[in-house]
């Protein structure tokens, strides 16, 4: 249940990208995205260049491209939005494959998609090559205020605790003949979600106290 035994976004590896200092990676990510966003929406060669740089880093990291691409589904609602923009936007109309759309809308949608996708890929690469607690460490190095670091490190720990408690709960549900397919069962899930909250809190609290019992001084790193 403890911190740091992998994460479903994390792709285990020992490449230079994995080993790079987390705060350097964070700065690189932010720099890269700023650059992408600052580029005018119709400067297509630049976007091709950014994509090439990103592809090179991905190749060096050894993370399979399919692994990253599968995770770009987070972008989906946004893609839907981008696809709608040309239809609902104002401005001069133009025709694409026999459909009338707004021309500035089309350009805007293209820019949104390119910028958004580059940002998403860069973030996913960071996640794939950096353990969550290293991200916390990196942000700490970058002088994130202490209370935020504290909340963040508890959050990272609780992701594991909640996952663990949820796994136990799922086993318990299954062995007493429960299947969650039926919507009539939703209230059961809602009620057990409340219990899950307190259970996770108290489990986390006890583990935290166990750490204190073994001389852990908060502020120091585990």
């Amino acid at each position: 249940m403890g911190a740091g035994h992998g994460h479903r976004l994390h792709y285990h590896g020992h490449s230079p990208v994995h080993r790079a200092e987390p705060h350097h990676k964070l700065l690189a990510l932010v720099g890269f995205v700023l650059l992408v966003v600052a580029t005018p929406g119709d400067a297509y060669p630049f976007f091709a260049g950014y994509l090439a740089v990103l592809a090179a880093v991905v190749a060096r990291s050894g993370v399979p491209p399919s692994y990253l691409l599968k995770r770009t589904v987070v972008e989906l609602p946004f893609v839907v939005f981008a696809l709608i923009v040309p239809f609902v936007s104002r401005g001069p109309q133009t025709e694409v494959w026999g459909v009338t759309v707004s021309e500035p809308g089309l350009v805007a949608a293209g820019a949104l998609l390119m910028k958004g996708t580059l940002g998403v890929l860069a973030s996913l690469l960071l996640a794939a090559t950096t353990e969550p607690h290293d991200v916390v460490r990196g942000l700490e190095r970058l002088r994130m205020p202490a209370p935020l670091v504290q909340i963040l490190s508890f959050m990272v720990r609780y992701l594991d605790v909640v996952g663990d408690e949820m796994g136990r709960m799922r086993t318990a549900l299954a062995s007493r003949g429960f299947t969650a397919r039926n919507p009539r069962h939703w209230p059961v899930i809602a009620r057990s979600a409340g219990a899950l909250f307190i259970r996770s809190y108290e489990r986390g609290e006890r583990v935290h106290l166990a750490m204190l019992s073994r001389g852990h001084a908060p502020g120091e790193r585990a």
Binding site: R168, A172, R176, G177, V188, R191, A195, R199
Partner: protein, 250 residues
């Protein structure tokens, strides 16, 4: 009649660690069998196969003639009730009442009959007065008792208990033995408490290093010094199995 049939069962955990290497076990209807063995022998792993929480890498498990496979899981779980080694794996609802009612409700029990079952099961383990408390705010031993009640309330045909007596106070331990003796079910009980096994189970099997190394009358196993020493089984301080009455049926 044979109710539990485990043949050539092997299991590999997702991290690649193999825990069972071809285990055979047969239990007949109405038997009470103790499953003994050192820490890490694979007892819990074996138990978790009996209602399909874990699925075999090789071999098979059959419950009352039904193979434990995906399509039969629902029916198997209705027949096999497991009390987990860690009560926290068992209890998940906001109150003790909800938790004990959960199983029977899934079996279609409702209304007054449901209430009756819940209270009866809690009464058997002496926890009636805790019916409206949240289970995760009970003492460890109290949680274990509620965990037993959640399974009793389902009236399974086969009762599998993974170290049910650990963390129980001595009186609860004896009361649990009385309950198990009074029920007309097949019982498989994992335990490290050898006198308890002798008291309750006429037959014992020993699992060690992922294989079954012994199977026989409990008293015979407990007095086989070589076997005992080889598998980290020792009789506790001040206990001699030859000085105690044979358990009924043994």
């Amino acid at each position: 009649m044979r109710v539990l049939d485990v043949a050539g069962l092997a299991h590999v955990y997702p991290d690649g660690h193999q825990a069972l290497y071809g285990v055979d076990l047969h239990v007949d209807s109405g038997e009470r069998v103790a499953l003994l063995g050192p820490n890490g022998a694979g007892k819990t792993t074996l138990v978790l196969h009996l209602n399909g929480i874990l699925l075999p890498a090789a071999g098979s498990v059959t419950v009352s003639g039904m193979p434990v496979t995906k399509p039969n899981l629902q029916e198997v779980r209705r027949r096999v009730g497991i009390v987990f080694q860690d009560p926290d794996d068992q209890l998940f609802m906001p109150t003790v009442r909800d938790d004990v009612a959960f199983g029977p409700r899934n079996l279609g029990v409702r209304g007054a009959e449901l209430d009756r079952r819940v209270l009866e099961a809690l009464d058997q383990v002496g926890m009636v007065e805790y019916v409206d408390r949240p289970p995760h705010h009970l003492s460890f031993g109290q949680r274990r008792r509620v965990a037993v009640a959640t399974v009793l309330a389902m009236r399974p045909e086969i009762l599998v208990l993974d170290e049910p007596s650990s963390n129980l106070d001595p009186a609860s331990r004896r009361e649990l033995a009385d309950i198990l003796r009074s029920l007309d079910v097949t019982v498989l009980m994992v335990t490290h408490d050898l006198p308890y096994a002798l008291e309750l189970c006429p037959r014992s099997v020993v699992l060690s290093g992922g294989v079954m190394v012994a199977d026989g009358p409990t008293r015979a196993l407990l007095t086989d010094e070589e076997l005992m020493r080889a598998h980290r089984l020792e009789l506790p301080f001040g206990f001699d199995p030859r000085n105690v009455p044979v358990p009924e049926g043994g």
